[in-house]
Amino acid sequence: MKAKKLISLLAATALLVSTLAGCGNSGSGTAAQQPADAGTTTTTTSSDSGSTDTAAAADSGDAMEIEVYDAAANYQGLQTGWFDKVVKDRFNIALNIISPQVAGDAIYQTRTSSGNLGDIVLLDSVDFADCVKAGLIKDISADLPNYSNLNAFADQISTYNSGLEGNNGEVYGIPTQMLNTSPTSYSQDVIYSSPLLRWDLYSELGCPDIADLDGLIDVLGQMQEAHPTNDAGDPCYAVSLWPDWDGNDNMLGIANVVQLTTWYGEKLKDSAILKADGKTFTPVTDKSAAYYKILKFLYKMNQAGLVDPDSGTQDWNAACAKMSAGQVYMFWYSWQVGFWNSQERLDNGTAMIFIPVADQNYYADADAYYGSGRVFGIGSGVDDAKYKKILEFLDWYASPEGLEFQHCGIKGFNYEVGDDGKYVAINDNALMDNLPVPEEYGGAGYSDGNNQINEWIVSSNAINPNTGETYAKDYWSSWKESTRTQMKKDWAAKFGADEPAEWMKKNNKLVISPNVTVPLGSDTNEIGTIRSQCNTTLCDYSWRMIFATSDAEFDAMWDEMTATLDGEGYQDLYKFDCEKWQPQVDAKNALK
């Protein structure tokens, strides 16, 4: 009898203990639940830095683990491969990347409410200001002057920090992609978004002049008609869209559409469109503004059968696969060419290149003198040893040696030093084809081991003191030489300029928006809610409008959408956003 009692008592205790153990994690609040898709992250996110240290020590020898909360990363987990080796050899630290893009935005809420976002923090400036206010970021003003590579940007860093609310000379953030040129110049050859077409298909049609968007549809229609499939026999489309980034980067609506509004010099600032004059705002629901125009353009494209029917339901990876397979005839992001243009294709003329449309007027952000908008910071919870390590690392990250690894790659693998001391690129397909790196850098694929932080303190267009040229290989004299192919020569002959940006400047088709650093107000809870609801409505309707079956349906949807948006509080949001962005617009106009 006694044994039985004992067993039941034990069972009861065990149950009790297991219940209490269960509430250890749920105790931190109902608001801090993890989304289902963050499953892979639970082990690292819920534990504090103390326990992860020990976990990492077992993983990677005695290297100190640094948690990097990284809004720019497309990868989550410990940095691996050659970049890990480079960092570990110098600082004996292992970078553990925490990516809201991978884990879902809820991870931001979870980590901030736990009071420790990360050891190194990389955030968009509005979030960064919130975190400074909440005491999550460390003041580094006392130590910054001791780190010469960071201090080289003292002007930009102090301009940024003095804009933070209630700041008295503290330094919290280090802007990203800074450049020591000037805030109004534009020194790149291509701009972020412009119509890019396949040169071989375009010249096959006899290089017709394109007057407007209808002309563009016409040309793309002829291309698709002549080449309905790629070499592998898969169907080709003029455009293939993806919904993954909708509402990102301070722009309401379908990411692919808002990007195309820059073709008419207009730029979305959240729910408002800044017109080409750079001064006046108009609601995104304005029928005379570019959002409507571009949506109508894509709708007409779809009517002509030029839009990939999977657009809107496929994800980014599926869209990438199509770009790499040559199933898409028009690109619009400058980096998209990375999925198609190779040295070989530049040689044989099948590469993508900018083709002007006569009535367009392209918007471009000026050189990022004050940085691109994201900000690095150090978590307020780090101990002294870690703090010193992080500063050393960040200083190296902004040093010529660090920048060469970030922007140029590995010496002897990605580039060689020529007789004149300037660099010559080799293995330029390393990233595309994930080539194995030399053994001394740990083998493994180049792309796999690439720097997963995916954001840089100094822009790749900065001048490398070792060569006197930019870090980005696109502007090396050796690279320019080798890419001056027949195709580029033909292009230059036809349009009378060497590079797209040069053509735009010459023909007065470039609207340069000066680079400024102005802190932006963060949303109140109510505005934030209205914003996300309006964004969902705008995106959902926009997608349906692209696939509308008739003009009447298209217009009916637009009106319905406008009414729905108003019912969700769009007018309040628009008013808020105009006030939010006005200081930035004023600052830009003051520089012009």
Binding site: P235, P309, G312
Partner: protein
């Protein structure tokens, strides 16, 4: 202290762990409702947030459009749950027919094949759906090769009969698993009843109709009532993976709506307020069901 009292305490101790379990997992989370009454926004703490009373409840319903949206979400929830309720006899009939298969290996094969999908997550189900039904998927390729269609059909983008399609996916995934209970119930039927029916000249149909189905009907009713309890929680994973801009209006059920508002929009107070609304609707539903039960069976179930 009397022996009886001591025994009372001891027995209370036996049940205590379960009481704690209920308190921690059923009542403690109710504390989270507090977020619905504050202007809470991370990274600020709740203690730094302003108390706003019922602001978020009025915010949820303050314009015609928003009321319409919430109504549509409720309609979707009721529609989809109602549909699966309406077809809840399907697994039972499946079990009955499965039981009639006389070839044992074939029967085992069918049972295994239909049970397996239950163990696949919805994410993988969608991956399969995408491979089969996207514009370059198996179905479209087949139809194009046969010359039946000229342009691919975007199945996943259409919102026609979406509730029914969702029910089909759910059934494909769950029917085999749900049938297990009925198969167990069928094995429990007294063989003598069936033998007696055969002697009386009943054919197979008549045996099914007069013996098998009446015998497992109580099981069916119990499961039906259990399902009723989940009427509003018809799961969000399925709809989360299948939702896109084209079908969202008709696929967004309450749980998914709460998720979309909280995690995509980052608005915890509003999401909590909607969660509270869900509980209120649940209680109303429960009372209605209880009333029905009282009317039809003469007894309460709460």
């Amino acid at each position: 202290m009397s022996r009886k009292k001591i025994r009372g305490y001891r027995e209370f101790l036996y049940v205590l762990p379960f009481l704690i379990l209920v308190a921690v997992f059923a009542y403690y989370p109710l504390y989270g409702w507090i977020y619905a009454f504050y202007d809470y926004k991370p990274p600020a703490l709740l203690s730094d947030s302003q108390f706003v009373g019922l602001k978020w409840f009025t915010f949820m319903l303050d314009t015609e459009i928003k009321r319409k949206q919430i109504w549509q979400v409720l309609l979707n929830t009721f529609g989809i749950s109602g549909l699966s309720m309406l077809f809840s006899w399907f697994p039972m009939m499946f079990a009955v027919f499965l039981n009639e298969i006389k070839c044992e290996p074939y029967k085992k094969f069918v049972q295994t094949v239909t049970t397996l999908p239950n163990f696949i997550s919805w994410v993988l189900v969608f991956a399969i759906a995408f491979c089969v039904f996207n514009t370059t998927g198996v179905v479209n390729s087949l139809l194009m090769d046969l010359g039946l269609i000229k342009t691919p059909i975007a199945f996943l983008k259409s919102n026609e009969h979406i509730w029914f399609k969702m029910w089909l996916w759910l059934t494909w995934k769950n029917a085999g698993w749900a049938a297990i209970m009925y198969i167990a119930a069928i094995t429990g039927i007294d063989e003598e009843l069936i033998d007696a029916a055969k002697v009386d000249g009943a054919n197979r149909w008549k045996t099914i109709w007069h013996i098998t189905i009446p015998s497992i009907l109580p099981t069916y009713l119990v499961l039906l009532f259990l399902n009723m309890a989940n009427f509003l929680s018809n799961g969000m994973e399925q709809f989360y993976v299948f939702q896109n801009s084209f079908n969202k209006d008709y696929i967004q059920v309450l749980d998914l709506y709460v998720y979309n508002v909280a995690y995509e929009g980052g608005s915890y107070p509003l999401a909590t307020a909607i969660g509270v609304l869900k509980s209120v609707v649940s209680i109303v539903l429960l009372c209605v069901m209880n009333g029905i039960s009282k009317l039809t069976r003469g007894e309460n179930f709460i």
